[in-house]
Each structure stands twice: as structure tokens, then as C-alpha cells.
């Protein structure tokens, strides 16, 4: 019995060193050597200052930027140190009301008719609360507003969106999407030209 306990303890310590220290440290070393950009968060820079991660969504509330999806991460959304979904169930009154409000908001912000149906990603919270993407429909739907705000032609904005549509990976994986941060950065560049 005592022998078994000491054996177990020694093996536990050894395996902790192997799988809990050596393995992650080795992988960190490899990552920093081979994939330094990805390993450190795929950060993007504006004027050499990090402005976010291309993989993480950000809050965009002003009319001149494409808006991201509603987020439940943190109190204001898009808290990249506090990822979270809404976890509201399908018969939740709160969910139904929130979605209704969001639809109203999207309609009024973009001056849409009642008959136009809204892409659900734009009015429903993502799983992570950090979703960097919106659907192409959700992006196109904002083109008019952006063009008006920025005083750029609608066509130009539309072209920009089209060039930012990521197709399905390998042709069948996931959904078509637009990275909002990348799009907005491109928009800023377009505007500053």
C-alpha cells in the first residue's frame, strides 16, 4: 500500500514535469520560433501601435464604422479578457426583447424598410462575445450608411466589402464572412487616401 502511494506520487511528479512543464514550454519555444505572429495573438497595427487582434472582434458603435455583432463579453461587449455568450434560451423573454430592440436599432440606423429581413448575426449575440466576423449580408446592409457618413460612393464601399468577403475555407468549411476589424481598417485607409 505504502509502496503504491510512493510510486504513484513519484509518477505523478514525473508526468507533471513531462506534460505540464516540458510539453507546454517546448511548444511555446517552437511557436515563438516558427509562428511568432500567430503565437502572440495575430495582432494588427495602425501606425505601429497595436490596435487589436485580427482574430478578435471589437466594439464599433459610431455610424462611420461597420458594426460588429452584439456581444455579451464584459459589460460593454468585446471584453477580450472576459469572453462570454448571452446564454439566453430560445423562450427567454429577455432574448426576444433584445433581438426585437436590435432589429429596430439596425433598421433605424440603416433606414431600412419593415419588409427587409435582417441577417440574424447582426442582432444576435455570438458565442464568444468576441466574434470578429459578420455575414456578408450584414456588411452590405451597412454600406449605405457608411457611404453617407463617410461621403464615399456606395459602390466603392460595396467593392471594399466584396473584397473582404472570406469564402468558405477549403470551399466547404464554415460560412462566408467578413472580418469587421479588417474591413474597418481598410475603410479608414480608403478614407484617408
Amino acid at each position: 500500500m505504502w509502496k503504491q502511494i510512493t510510486s504513484a506520487l513519484r509518477l505523478l511528479i514525473l508526468l507533471t514535469v513531462v506534460t505540464g512543464i516540458a510539453y507546454p514550454l517546448a511548444m511555446t519555444g517552437v511557436a515563438q520560433a516558427i509562428f511568432p505572429e500567430q503565437a502572440n495573438g495575430s495582432l494588427v497595427y495602425v501606425n505601429d501601435k497595436p490596435t487589436g487582434s485580427i482574430l478578435l472582434g471589437q466594439n464599433f458603435t459610431t455610424a462611420k464604422y461597420f458594426h460588429s455583432r452584439p456581444s455579451s463579453a464584459g459589460t460593454d461587449g468585446y471584453d477580450a479578457a472576459g469572453s462570454s455568450g448571452s446564454n439566453l434560451g430560445p423562450t427567454s423573454k429577455k432574448l426576444v426583447d433584445t433581438v426585437k430592440d436590435n432589429i429596430e436599432k439596425v433598421r433605424s440606423e440603416n433606414q431600412l424598410e419593415e419588409s427587409v429581413s435582417i441577417p440574424s448575426d447582426l442582432v444576435m449575440a455570438s458565442a464568444s462575445g468576441l466574434d470578429p466576423d459578420i455575414s456578408p449580408e450584414a456588411a452590405y446592409l451597412q454600406v449605405n450608411r457608411i457611404a453617407n457618413e463617410r461621403g464615399i460612393s456606395e459602390n466603392e464601399v460595396r467593392r471594399l466589402v466584396t473584397s473582404h468577403v472570406q469564402v468558405r475555407q477549403l470551399g466547404f468549411l464554415g460560412a462566408e464572412r467578413v472580418n469587421v476589424l479588417a474591413l474597418n481598417m481598410a475603410l479608414d485607409r480608403l478614407a484617408s487616401k
Partner: protein
């Protein structure tokens, strides 16, 4: 729709292509046969034995095996508690995170040690990098290896005769890690890193966002943990939102790799079983039953999500139920992940299950309630399914007029008793754990949703605990003294209440003689057996949980159709 189905087909094909050779390889590893990696792994294994003072060749009877397993797991759990309590003074804590409250630390330790990885905490705000690595990543390996060891011991019980010995626990653990889990993890984490999963020990980065706000970005050694999280069907995410977090699962491709990784070893173990019993068709039959159940689950979940939610869906374009789903995975990638993670007792999520449609959410719940045998956890799926095979063979085998037998081993009172205990314990734990929670204030206090969905949240929590899954209807605020203790007890019962009877069966089967099959024996390879096995799994699960599910997801679905909200 077509690309969705294509994804599912590609998933199945890739899975089988990879799991089949892995099964052969694992059979060799556990039988001590030569493999192509002997030159690398044998010296590592020998060194570990020498340093630990272990004789890896010494055979154990089932009691010794179970004893070693329990001691090893208890010590492992103690270590996880200790590291969490001491993390403030341990290295790699750039955010200066404080010691974890004891009830939460206890819950986390129990949960990771049992391969459940229920997370009442939010990783990025609770655990230091050292804790994530030396406590949680370690248990990801050890709990997976424990499950694999138990499954292998059971297979040995089925194949050996007239002996009390079922193998050496230490050797099975070490081999699982050195020969299988660690090399696979290295390969998978490299893939993840290439796609954008982070791997660093840096402090959190604060950036000025494009719009002028501030965003603090959590960092950490994610990829190394992510790989074993899936491969070991552990499911404990580095971050709060688990595989929905872009740093854990950045692209649709990583999403595919993740679902494949989750199923890889459990599926491989079924092939391994066929190889070890020297009749591959036995393995194919079990896998066919598992995949049959899984296909139905996946189909149901996907269809329900495509159908969507008529209440919120008004005025929206398709797909209408994007609540709790990230864009990049699509409905197919989300539905596939939800079905896979709960079929395999993994518990990683890329979708908030709480926000699935009622029937879409019932599928994961039901898969856990069935005893986590639809593929199941690493090892746990195989040995869990074996319990249902005992049941099937017993009831159905009687009908051909012979004392029931499986692979020539007579299934008698002792095996029946242990199989029933192993099936009963998780089921009763789910029912009573949930029942206590709906009648106590502490239990109801955690609800995020009311009405039938509230009951679903509680049922899901205990199904996840007893099934050692770890996913959640995460609206339930589980970081309370009540839930931390209840869930911890649930995961421990759900784990060892199955493992110990399984090992007892392994021991008693090993002692039996093997009857040769004849035309009078009930064949356990044909399509009839596959259907019966799947049928028994569903019948037992459905009959046990139907009343409870009626008041949860089933009535919620009916009320949703009527437009009722709570």
C-alpha cells in the same frame, strides 16, 4: 445545405481514415508489440519507470489495478487543488491572479481529474498560466490516460482466460501518455498554432481599438492545452467561452481539426478493441452502433437549428438562430461541434448550448444522459458501451436459448450486477442531483432562464457532471458553494461509480473460460446486433429520462411553437 452535408461526410471519412490505423497502433502499444516508434518511446518509458521505481511488467488483479488508479487520481486531484491555492506565489502569473476560492478549486480539481472539465470559473480571469499548465493540462493528460487504461484492462478481461490479472495500471498510464497522447498533442498543437491559436507566456495586451476604446487581450499557452483538451476528450477551455473563443478555435479548419481530434482516440479505441480480440468485426459492430446513434443525433440537432426559433426569427433572414453561435463556424460547424462534443464526453463548446433551440439543446443533453456511450470519452466510451453490450447480450442472448455470452465469456450474475451498477449510478445521480436543485433555493438561485428552460439548465448541468462531459447550459451560475459541491460530487460519482464496476467486470471476465462460438451462439457482429445495441442504449436512456425531458426541452419546444416566452 449541400456544403453542410459535405462537411459531415468529410468529417466521417477523415475520422475513419485516421482512427483505423490508430486503432491498430494502439492495440500494438497496449499488447507490448513492436511499433515503428520503439526507438524513441521505449527509452522514455523505461526512464520514467526507473525514476518512479515502478515495475511496469508486474501484472495486477482488478483490485490492485483499481487501487493504483484511485491512489493516483486522488493524489492528482490534491495536486490540482494545491496549485490553485498557491498560484499567487507560483511562477508564470503575469496578471497576478489570486488563490482560487476553495470550493471552486475543489470543484475544478474533481472535474479535471475525472475528465469532466466542468468549468465554474472563467479561465482568463481565474487561472494563472502555471495553473493552466502544471495543474490543468497535466490532468487533461492523466484523466484521459486513466480512461484509456480502464478500457484496455476491460478488453484484456475479455480476451484472457483463467487468470486474475488484467495488466499493470502504471504501464497502461505511461504508455497512453508517452506513446499516444503526447505525440498526437504535439502534432495537433502545431496545426493549431499555424492557424492562429496563441502560445505564449506574455502578460495580457491592452490595445487602443480602432474606434478609440481600449481592449485588453488575454494571452497564454493556449495551443498546447487546446490539443490535449480535444484529443483527451477533456473539454476544459483555456478561456471562458472555450472553443468559441477565436484564440482557441480561430478558423473553420481548426474547427474541423478539433471535432476530428475529439472523436479520434475514442473511435480508434473501438478499432483497437477489434484488433485486440482478434476479430475486427466485433469492433466494427460497436462502432456502427455508435455512429448510427451519432448520425441520428447530429441530424436532429442540425435540423432543429436550421428550423430555428420562430419567436425570435420573425423579420430575420436565414439562418435565424445565430444567438450563441460564432459566424466563422456556420450552422453546420456549430451543430457538428455540439453533437461531437457531447457524444464524446468532451465538453468543449464552440456554441453556447444554452441558446440552442429546445430540441437542438435536448440532443446534447440526451447524448450525455445515454451514459456518454455515443462514441464517448477516451476509453470511457468503449467501457461504457461495454456495459450496454452486457445488457443487450443478456436480454437478447436469452432469447436464443443460451446463457448469455459475449466473445465466449458467459455473462452471469456478477457481470450483470456490475453492469447495472455502472449504468444506474450516473442515471440516478442526474435525476436526484437535478431534483434536489429544483427544490432548493441554492439550486434555483443559479438560473439564467426561467420556465422549462430553467429545468433544462439544471438537468443539463447534472447530465454533464455525471456523464463526465463538462459542457454546460452556461447560463446557470455554477460558481456558488452549492453547485461547486454538488457538481464535484456528481463528477466523482459519475466517474468512479462506473470505473470500479468496470474493473470488477474485467477481473471476473478474465477468470472465466472462453466458449468457442457456434451456430447456437448469438452473433455480436451482424447488423441485427448493431440495431439492438443502439436500441437498448436509446430505450434505457429514453425510459429513464423521458418524464424529466418532457418537462424540460420537450414542453419548451411545444411552447416555443405557440410563441410563449418566460
Amino acid at each position: 445545405m449541400i456544403t453542410d452535408v459535405l462537411l459531415f461526410i468529410v468529417f466521417f471519412v477523415l475520422l475513419l481514415l485516421m482512427a483505423w490505423p490508430l486503432g491498430r497502433y494502439m492495440a500494438k502499444v497496449y499488447s507490448g508489440e513492436r511499433t515503428m516508434f520503439d526507438t524513441i518511446f521505449l527509452p522514455m518509458e523505461k526512464t520514467l519507470y526507473r525514476l518512479a521505481g515502478i515495475d511496469g511488467a508486474q501484472e495486477m488483479n482488478w483490485r490492485q489495478y483499481a487501487g493504483g488508479l484511485l491512489i493516483f487520481n486522488i493524489l492528482g486531484m490534491a495536486a490540482v487543488v494545491a496549485i490553485q491555492e498557491l498560484q499567487a506565489i507560483l511562477p508564470w502569473n503575469p496578471e497576478g491572479l489570486a488563490a482560487v476560492p476553495f470550493d471552486l478549486a475543489f470543484n475544478t480539481a474533481a472535474s479535471f481529474m475525472t475528465n469532466t472539465n466542468w468549468q465554474a470559473y472563467s479561465g482568463e480571469t481565474t487561472m494563472s498560466y502555471f495553473t493552466q499548465m502544471a495543474a490543468l493540462t497535466v490532468q487533461n493528460f492523466l484523466s484521459a490516460a486513466t480512461g484509456m487504461a480502464v478500457a484496455v484492462a476491460l478488453v484484456r478481461g475479455l480476451t484472457r482466460k483463467n487468470t486474475k490479472h488484467i495488466g499493470n495500471f502504471w504501464s497502461d498510464m505511461v504508455r497512453s501518455i508517452i506513446w499516444i497522447l503526447l505525440p498526437l498533442s504535439i502534432v495537433v498543437s502545431m496545426l493549431f498554432m499555424q492557424q492562429g491559436v496563441i502560445q505564449n507566456l506574455s502578460p495580457y495586451v491592452t490595445v487602443d481599438t480602432l474606434e478609440g476604446g481600449q481592449q485588453t487581450i488575454a494571452m497564454g499557452p493556449v495551443a498546447s492545452q487546446e490539443a490535449i483538451k480535444e484529443l483527451g476528450t477533456n473539454g476544459g477551455g483555456f478561456f471562458n467561452t472555450n472553443s468559441a473563443h477565436p484564440f482557441e478555435n480561430p478558423t473553420p479548419l481548426t474547427n474541423l481539426v478539433q471535432v476530428l481530434s475529439i472523436f479520434l482516440i475514442p473511435t480508434g479505441m473501438v478499432f483497437m478493441f477489434g484488433n485486440m480480440v482478434k476479430d475486427r468485426r466485433q469492433g466494427y459492430a460497436i462502432l456502427a452502433a455508435m455512429l448510427l446513434l451519432f448520425s441520428v443525433s447530429l441530424g436532429g440537432l442540425y435540423a432543429s437549428e436550421i428550423y430555428g426559433n420562430p419567436i425570435t426569427g420573425h423579420g430575420l433572414s436565414e439562418p435565424t438562430n445565430m444567438e450563441g453561435k460564432d459566424m466563422r463556424f456556420g450552422t453546420n460547424g456549430s451543430a457538428l461541434f455540439a453533437a461531437v462534443t457531447t457524444a464524446a464526453s468532451c465538453g468543449a463548446v464552440n456554441t453556447m448550448h444554452d441558446s440552442l433551440t429546445p430540441l437542438g439543446g435536448m440532443v446534447p443533453m440526451l447524448q450525455m444522459m445515454l451514459g456518454e456511450v455515443v462514441i464517448g470519452g477516451v476509453g470511457a466510451g468503449l467501457y461504457g458501451m461495454m456495459m450496454f453490450i452486457m445488457l443487450t447480450v443478456f436480454v437478447v442472448g436469452l432469447m436464443v436459448g443460451r446463457t448469455p455470452e459475449y466473445l465466449g465469456k458467459k455473462i452471469e450474475a456478477n457481470e450483470m450486477k456490475m453492469a447495472i451498477i455502472a449504468i444506474l449510478i450516473p442515471a440516478v445521480t442526474v435525476l436526484f442531483g437535478s431534483a434536489i436543485s429544483v427544490i432548493t433555493e441554492a439550486g434555483l438561485a443559479g438560473l439564467n432562464n426561467t420556465g422549462p428552460h430553467g429545468l433544462s439548465e439544471i438537468l443539463y448541468a447534472f447530465a454533464s457532471a455525471a456523464g463526465n462531459n463538462g459542457s454546460a447550459f452556461a447560463g446557470l451560475s455554477a460558481n456558488t458553494l452549492y453547485y461547486n459541491l454538488m457538481i464535484a460530487v456528481g463528477v466523482l460519482i459519475g466517474r468512479f461509480g462506473v470505473i470500479i464496476p468496470v474493473l470488477a467486470i474485467a477481473g471476473s471476465l478474465a477468470e472465466k473460460r472462453v466458449s468457442p462460438p457456434g451456430p447456437g451462439t448469438f452473433p455480436t457482429t451482424g447488423s441485427l446486433f448493431v440495431l439492438l445495441l443502439a436500441g437498448i442504449v436509446v430505450m434505457v436512456g429514453a425510459l429513464t429520462f423521458l418524464p424529466a425531458l418532457s418537462l424540460g426541452p420537450i414542453i419548451e419546444h411545444l411552447l416555443m411553437l405557440q410563441g410563449m416566452t418566460f
